[in-house]
């Protein structure tokens, strides 16, 4: 659609335009109606009538210029701008949850949440990354002593940006919903939640500074020019088996030995020292999958029936919000055999409720998920996580 500006020189020309106005089949939309030759006439013309109207004007010797060549382009840009500022407004205390942030900004927000919701949120460190960055965990707790707890981590693979972004949104959600949402309130009255928003901070920084597609840690590998280990092939679960590479240059390199990566070791130490973790949940992207063990072998876990049913219930909750469909199954049967994975380790360690999520999308944008999808992704993912947490709460063995 085009918008023309017509400059009438006399009353005769104005009358011509009023005639044009009466031709309803042209579907003209006058933004400034023809009334006096002192004012220009602005009119929006549907695409298929543009040529005809221009021909008419030219045949009458009426001067015009193109005000807007393609109205759709203007509308699209406006929508973009609106979405942008809407996302800006959504943030309280100036942290915009609807965009991707640097590590420093995420860490600053962790401090802010711990301060604003200090009655239930505290931040502590479980270790350091290879390049000596702190690994910060948020603890959500209403008290007690070593209560049964839920573990949730994000960003173990650094290029999966929607996971770190969702995690910080989820942190805010849990903190602000306590005391308002009956489900979360009763959950936190019985159990604690531990949330590691950036499991692989070195990789995350690298995706900002150098290579957006970096997946692994940034550890130096003796004898190789290549850097980094796939932290989700480095756990002590079927380590060395099929589904991981022994080539340091590979994006699925398992590492020289299980737990060689300090980031992985830090989580393992925390879980073991805590001693009362009842669920181990981890976020990845992309593919829209909700998976339970095993990855390192294709046999069913002992709790297959319960985990599958719970997974389906969680996927159903996710779908209820925006219609996003997640496929449910074990890692091995759903994607591929993969050894050294975190939920296989946690399950064999005794944490029955071990699930791995692969968030949006299914490949159209892949790792480069547009910012407009961050909050919807976080919202729907939270519903799935909540479903699992509620089940854990009600079945704490």
């Amino acid at each position: 659609h085009q918008v023309l500006r017509i400059k009438t020189r006399n009353e005769e020309e104005v009358k011509q335009l009023q005639l044009l106005e009466s031709l309803e089949h042209l579907e003209l939309d006058f933004w400034i109606n023809p009334s006096t030759s002192a004012l220009p006439v602005d009119v929006r013309i549907p695409a298929n009538n543009v040529q005809a109207v221009k021909a008419f004007l030219e045949s009458q010797g009426i001067e015009y210029s193109i005000l807007i060549e393609d109205l759709q382009v203007v509308l699209d840009k406006e929508k973009q701008d609106m979405v942008y500022s809407q996302q800006k407004e959504r943030s309280s205390s100036s942290f915009n949850y609807g965009t991707y942030h640097s590590l420093d900004d995420i860490y600053a927000e962790l401090d802010h949440l711990a301060s604003e919701y200090s009655n239930i949120v505290s931040k502590f460190q479980i270790g350091q990354s290879y390049e000596k960055r702190p690994l910060y965990v948020l603890k959500f707790s209403t008290g007690g002593s070593n209560r049964p707890a839920i573990w949730l981590d994000a960003g173990i693979h650094s290029r999966e940006w929607v996971t770190q972004a969702s995690a910080i949104w989820i942190a805010k959600k849990i903190a602000s919903d306590y005391g308002k949402d009956p489900s979360i309130t009763s959950l936190l009255n019985k159990m604690d939640i531990f949330l590691l928003t950036v499991t692989n901070p070195d990789g995350y920084v690298f995706t900002h500074t150098t290579n957006r597609m970096w997946r692994k840690t940034r550890s130096k590998i003796p004898g190789s020019l290549c850097v980094g280990v796939d932290p989700n092939r480095n756990w002590d679960a079927g380590f060395g088996g099929p589904g991981a590479s022994s080539n340091p240059c590979s994006d699925s390199y398992r590492g020289p030995r299980a737990n060689s990566e300090v980031e992985v070791q830090a989580v393992v130490n925390f879980i073991k020292n805590h001693g009362n973790i009842r669920a181990f949940l981890t976020l990845h992207s992309y593919s829209q999958l909700l998976m339970y063990p095993y990855g390192y072998k294709c046999t069913e876990p002992a709790d297959y029936a319960e985990l599958d049913a719970l997974g389906r219930a969680a996927a159903s909750s996710i779908r209820s919000l925006y219609g996003t469909t997640f496929t449910v199954g074990s890692i091995c049967t759903t994607i591929y055999q993969a050894s050294g994975g975190s939920i296989d380790w946690s399950y064999d360690y005794g944490i029955k409720y071990s699930f791995a999520f692969e968030l949006r999308d299914t490949g159209r944008y892949g790792f480069l998920l547009p910012t407009s999808q961050i909050i919807p992704t976080a919202e729907e993912t939270w519903l799935g996580l909540k479903k699992i947490m509620e089940h854990v709460r009600d079945n704490t063995y």
Partner: protein, 177 residues
């Protein structure tokens, strides 16, 4: 399983228009992965049960726009790190998506799953004939190995003559990648 030949898959799919989710076409297909020599692309036969939407108008608009550019189009990182695609680059991205489909087909086995991850760089090459030519460097994400593979492809396009990949080659990965 077909002895001494390979593995054949019979598929029933629904094709969904990326630009119009309500527009769907049913499709049946047969895919044969050859035994042994992994350098042969799988055989694909398919039947569309219905018609694909006519895109003539949009095609012509894009074609005219590029043809009338004074300087050759050049762009990088589509989408960018935040998933943004400038609206005027959307057709360039869609073209890459189609062309990468050919490259993916030619390089697929039963143990690969490729997706187009990003256009690292695209440069238009002006031609004296009616075709548009673009030289793309794309990143393919292979999901089983989780590798990101740079790939170069030369793409020809014309509204009435469709898409052609005239040249493509896998690029070496740098140690920092």
């Amino acid at each position: 399983d077909i002895d001494d030949v390979g593995h054949k898959y019979y598929l029933e799919l629904v094709l969904e228009d990326v630009l119009d989710k309500d527009s769907t076409v049913n499709c049946t297909a047969e895919v044969l992965y050859h035994l042994g020599n992994k350098n042969i692309a799988p055989d694909v036969q398919f039947t569309l049960e219905g018609e694909l939407k006519n895109t003539e108008e949009a095609d012509n608009i894009f074609y005219s726009r590029i043809k009338s550019l004074e300087k050759e189009l050049v762009a990088e990182n589509i989408p960018d790190s935040h998933g943004n695609v400038p609206p005027e680059m959307e057709p360039v991205r869609l073209l890459a998506w189609v062309a990468s489909g050919y490259v993916i087909w030619q390089n697929s086995t039963e143990n690969t799953k490729f997706q187009l991850a990003q256009i690292k760089r695209v440069k238009q090459v002006k031609r004296s004939d009616e075709y548009l030519e673009f030289d793309y460097t794309i990143l393919l994400h292979e999901m089983v190995s989780q590798e990101i593979i740079p790939w170069q492809m030369t793409v020809l396009w014309h509204p009435q003559h469709g898409v052609q990949v005239t040249q493509d080659s896998r690029q070496p990965k740098h140690a920092s990648q």
